[in-house]
């Protein structure tokens, strides 16, 4: 059937076409103040049909696998084609990529009572942390996607993509002061995730952050040296550098990294990698959403820009054989170049030395999110846990700090890189052009000589 639909999609020309079959099951539980308030879940299923003609894309989808509906979608997508190309027949060859997320017991299939118990343990751990914890909410979301990609160039590859994510938030109160803390994690894992990271960890961690924030004081405003803690801080790299290296922006010449391949774009201490192959990580993929088996992309090596991340359209534009970074939210969306797990490679500095080297600055530990203006690399990040560094020592916790800077400028200002590389526990979701995909980030402890800290104390 796939061959018939692909032939139909290219009936009026076009360079190539692909089909993206998706069957998605989800199961979610939300616990509010110690009680399961709502159980949820559902099934979503459909097929996306894409026809590519040069840089132009025709796209349609059907919420079924009915052949007539798919042929109709193929006709719709084919309207983009303006003659040329086209093929007589399609021969699909099945490929079986290596599995980077083998899972024995999937959370989406777990007994309801077992999932409820995980949330109970998280909830109890947060409450036990202190009598100042006045409210705890927790959620457990499991999603499993079966995908199958077939393309007019013969690719035919399926993948089974599990995902689990636990989130806990806690509210602490002392006198009139109320503060929140949260923690979460997961990845392309099964129930085994909770053997490595027990639910109690996220409960305790959410409570700890809320309690720390009870003592947080106003942050300074102005340019200061900033030490980014290992792990979570990778989100800064994702936003400040990663997006600008997605090839679609460079094809359109709207990225600040346009025409910079081979040039120095960061301090020589900086090496940045996008790695879809990390076992069990939230951003990992065995196969991208265009049917290509991806490999590790070395983006910046010792400060020099080496590669962009490509989907099929941009790879063709830049005359590259291999893409591998084409991802999409669902069958309702065409793919585009996206990150998977993006991290900075470890360096040689001792993390303690990095903190000791700062006389007055900020230690950034946990982030709630960030945003970048792709065209010039200006970024903003919000901290949910940050501290003042005074005389080489971490001292007072700071209230909701923002860091603002410019990607290339900040990367030039990296003066120390720790040997303590850590991958952030899986909780990040990246949004681009209205499509969300799960990603992983990672970072060793690093020092950036100057970033603007958006506090309130002048």
């Amino acid at each position: 059937m796939a061959e018939r639909i692909l032939s139909r999609a290219l009936a009026s020309g076009g360079d190539f076409a692909d089909l993206y079959f998706e069957y998605r099951r989800s199961a979610s539980l939300s616990m509010e103040d110690g009680r399961i308030r709502v159980a949820g879940g559902g099934v979503d299923m459909g097929v996306g049909v894409r026809v590519v003609c040069g840089e132009a894309v025709g796209y349609a989808y059907a919420e079924s696998i009915d052949e007539d509906e798919l042929l109709h979608a193929a006709d719709t997508a084919a309207r983009i084609a303006r003659g040329g190309g086209g093929i007589a027949s399609v021969n699909l060859r099945r490929r079986r990529p290596k599995n980077r997320y083998p899972v024995d017991a999937e959370v989406v299939d777990a007994e309801g009572a077992e999932r409820v118990e995980l949330l109970r343990r998280a909830d109890a751990a947060a409450r036990k942390a202190s009598r100042r914890i006045v409210r705890v909410d927790a959620s457990l979301v499991a999603v499993t996607k079966e995908i199958l990609v077939a393309s007019s160039e013969g690719a035919f590859v399926a993948d089974h993509q599990p995902m689990v994510r636990m989130g806990v938030s806690a509210i602490a109160r002392r006198g009139k002061r109320t503060e929140a803390g949260s923690s979460g994690g997961g990845g392309r894992r099964g129930l085994d995730y909770f053997e490595d990271v027990p639910p109690t960890f996220h409960g305790e961690e959410a409570a700890r952050v809320a309690l720390v924030n009870l003592d947080a004081r106003p942050a300074p405003a102005g340019e200061l040296p900033v030490v980014l803690a290992a792990g979570d801080s990778g989100i800064l790299l994702h936003e400040a550098v990663g997006h600008g290296l997605e090839a679609d922006f460079n094809r359109k010449r709207t990225s600040n990294y346009t025409d910079r391949i081979g040039k120095k774009v960061a301090s020589p201490l900086v090496t940045v990698v996008d790695d879809p192959t990390i076992v069990g990580s939230r951003g990992s993929i065995n196969v991208d959403d265009e049917g290509e088996v991806p490999s590790i992309h070395r983006l910046i090596v010792a400060g020099k820009l080496r590669n962009y991340m490509h989907d099929r359209v941009s790879a063709r534009y830049f005359g590259r054989k291999k893409a591998g970074s084409g991802r999409r939210e669902s069958f309702r969306h065409p793919p585009m170049p996206r990150m998977t797990n993006t991290y900075m490679a470890p360096g040689e500095d001792d993390p303690e030395d990095i903190i000791r080297s700062v006389n007055r600055g900020i230690y950034a530990k946990r982030f709630s999110g960030g945003q970048v203006n792709i065209s010039n690399g200006d970024f903003v990040f919000s901290l949910v846990e940050g501290y003042l560094i005074e005389g080489g020592r971490i001292t007072a916790p700071l209230k909701g700090v923002n860091l603002i800077g410019n990607g290339p400028v900040a990367m030039e200002a990296v003066s120390m890189v720790g040997h303590d590389f850590r991958l952030s526990d899986g909780m990040w979701t990246c949004g681009k052009d209205g499509q969300s995909v799960p990603v992983g980030v990672g970072m060793p402890t690093i020092k950036v000589d100057a970033l603007t800290v958006g506090g309130t104390e002048i």
Partner: protein, 458 residues
């Protein structure tokens, strides 16, 4: 304007399906249920450098149900509306409810409180679905061309896109409510890019959107405005840190008002995730500030005749003359808080929670220009970045772009800075409200002048 016959037929079909589903669910053991069914059509096109880049067309439909068995709640959704498949889907939803804990507060409203008649609102434009891909591409091309031709300093375009969508929906509840609604929306957006000194790029975005085709701004005007917005940032620079008055243009102000909206929703209030939780009946802004949630505005994007539980919607004054008069509540959050519901429940069949309709600050008498008057040195903010807001404390800190105000007028462009202030203090410190309210978006605000904020820059 009367709906087209086709839409009326589609509405009837969906209403029949929703009513049948409620009957089946009740027969299968649901004590209470809500069933939302929707079907929609969409077209999305984009052009870049004068050439089509994407044509995406699809129709979709889906059902969401909320079931309650023994005071236990489950929600689920599906896109497979085949009646045999639905029976199976209902069975799984009812099974899922067993996982939740009994919650008497989760029961639906008393049938006496449900809407008897559906207020007609002018939300559906039969012309929308008739815009074909060629016409949509032509609009986008015109807009992009106008942007590129507006000024020689515009060097690239991230493209122009046109999208249209139409949706018909029905809601049936076990309390006896049955209603249908239909709406359309279309928008045209352009992003222009200008090259600044030192290779930095500046982008400018402008868009128009409306429920009715005739209410859209002209494509060429949209393109020219996007170009102007890119050029005005050429040469933007940091300013020194300090405290100064800030004027938010109506787009930046909208995003502040969106934060206020998120803190008056019932869920945020009873979960203590709102700095306004204890402020009911208290002054939270000066006397000349009134904030309204009005679902009955003709042709507005957030308008609706009934809420997700089948109550007739009503105009709610949230802040009257500076005093917090009401939260926005669905049945569940109202019971939690011991207050009366405000007919603000979100879409039928979802986890019940409150949402906004058209939420806006009532316009004042002052022109945006006159709001700058008397400011010796201040900041005019037109764009913000990042997510630096903690609803629990109200602490606010975001990246900002705009212009320096000197001697009552805008002078040089400013970027790469953050502005901070606790939102509770910011609201009390509003000094002026502009007369430039537009309802292009469901959350809206006129320009606002705030006496003082902290700017973090150099």
């Amino acid at each position: 304007m009367p709906l087209s016959r086709k839409v009326e037929r589609r509405s009837r079909e969906l209403a029949d399906l929703a009513a049948w589903s409620v009957e089946r669910l009740q027969a299968m053991g649901a004590e209470h249920c809500e069933v939302g069914v929707a079907s929609g059509r969409e077209l999305e096109v984009s052009v870049r450098a004068g050439r089509p880049e994407l044509v995406k067309e699809a129709s979709s439909s889906g059902m969401s149900v909320r079931v309650i068995v023994g005071e236990r709640v489950a929600t689920s959704s599906t896109t497979d509306l085949d009646r045999a498949a639905l029976e199976d889907f209902f069975r799984r939803a009812l099974e899922m409810a067993r996982l939740a804990e009994p919650d008497p507060l989760a029961l639906p409203p008393d049938p006496k409180e449900l809407a008897r008649r559906i207020r007609p609102l002018d939300l559906f434009d039969p012309r929308t679905d008739r815009i074909d891909a060629a016409a949509a591409l032509a609009r986008a091309e015109r807009a992009e061309r106008a942007a590129l031709r507006h000024d020689r300093r515009i060097t690239a375009s991230e493209g122009a896109s046109f999208g249209r969508s139409s949706a018909v929906s029905a809601l049936a509840t076990s309390g006896g409510f049955l209603g249908t609604a239909a709406g359309t929306y279309q928008s045209l957006a352009v992003q222009a890019v200008a090259d600044d000194e030192g290779g930095k790029k500046r982008n400018g975005v402008y868009w128009t959107g409306a429920r009715f085709v005739e209410d859209l701004e002209r494509p060429a005007d949209v393109g020219r405005e996007a170009a102007r917005r890119a050029i005005r940032f050429l040469g933007a620079r940091k300013i020194d840190s300090g405290k100064m008055p800030v004027v938010f243009d109506h787009e930046a102000a909208r995003s502040i008002v969106g934060l206020v909206a998120s803190c008056v929703l019932g869920d945020a209030v009873y979960r203590r995730r709102s700095f306004l939780a204890d402020k009911l009946g208290k002054r939270i802004a000066p006397k000349f500030v009134t904030i309204v949630d009005d679902p009955h505005l003709p042709r507005a994007p957030g308008s609706r005749a009934y809420d997700g539980e089948g109550r007739a919607t009503r105009r709610n004054v949230v802040v009257r003359d500076g005093v917090l008069e009401s939260f926005l509540l669905d049945t569940h959050s109202a019971r939690r808080l011991g207050l009366e519901p405000t007919a603000s429940a979100a879409g039928g069949g979802s986890i019940p929670h409150a949402t906004t309709s058209n939420f806006f600050v009532r316009k004042g008498r002052r022109t945006p220009k006159s709001l700058l008057r008397g400011i010796d040195r201040g900041l005019y903010v037109v764009r913000m970045m990042g997510f630096g807001f903690d609803p629990v404390t109200g602490n606010f800190s975001r990246g900002a772009e705009g212009f320096l105000i000197e001697g009552g007028a805008c002078t040089v462009p400013v970027g790469e800075i953050t502005i901070s202030r606790n939102l509770g203090e910011l609201l009390l410190d509003i000094e002026g409200v502009g007369n430039d309210l537009d309802h292009r978006t469901a959350i809206a605000s006129p320009s606002l002048r705030v006496a003082e904020m902290t700017i973090a820059g150099r």
